[in-house]
Chain length 91, copies 4
């Protein structure tokens, strides 16, 4: 992580707390639909963290790679972005 | 949760372990794209848990409500399913 | 389609018009990102149509099946809902 | 579209044909769940087209912008990628 790892860590720990709350809900026999809604809220939060990480990545590693002289490295970095984009449409 | 709360709890605890691993990755400066991929894997796992919860819910609460005499309750239960379905297309 | 096929048809025809507009954009060499954004708008519209169809389905076929005496049919109808829900988290 | 507009056009026209087939299904009163499944298949196909467009975009406009001297343009291009990524997690 080239940048802003602290913000990302903090947000992921918030998600972890949220997830522990959901586990408690299930243990205490909460209503199914309420549990599903909380899981969806967690997923929305995770999506935001991923977007933040990608943004940081674009503004550091990707700029460096594309401005560098290593064609293979450039291709690798761009391919990865295509791949996480494609995956993001599936989860 | 009408049924199979144990399976759901167990799976959510696995996700929690996975998430803690991702937080550690970020703290140890792992490569951004690897972190994003792990977050996407967590989301895929959460989707499976939601599907499992919905399936259990359909086979318990929903059947009971629809076979019951309370029209309002029936409508409420069906509306909730529409809502979580609609939300699932957004996260 | 048990109900409200007209609304669904009308919305899908709107999506068709939108899609034809996007094809024209590509043929006229529009900016890539603008094309991606339009495709995402089409997907959001399709998600809404799916939600509408599911809602109608729940309020017709599903009620009938669950109130009926055919256990197999009941299970089939509920299984289908689980399946489209699970798929909705993937597209 | 900097590259491979023909492939994209062809795929979008295939999706258009698929969509017309779904409209026909609705007009002919097809089973709701079958319609939803076809709409989900269309969305999966659209996701693939978006990924293809983004891949072409990264390998043309984005490389040019990042290797160029215009800092504003560079930032704009990277911001757009973050934006479509974030949106892709929502549709």
């Amino acid at each position: 992580m080239q940048s802003d790892g602290d913000t990302v860590t903090r947000r992921l720990k918030t998600v972890e707390g949220h997830l522990r709350g959901v586990i408690r809900m299930v243990e205490e026999d909460a209503y199914c639909i309420d549990v599903i809604r909380q899981i969806q809220a967690i997923e929305a939060a995770l999506n935001k963290v991923s977007s933040k990480i990608l943004e940081d990545h674009l503004n550091s590693c990707v700029i460096t790679a594309i401005q560098g002289n290593d064609k293979k490295e450039r291709e690798r970095v761009l391919k990865e972005i295509s791949e996480v984009f494609e995956m993001s449409t599936k989860v």
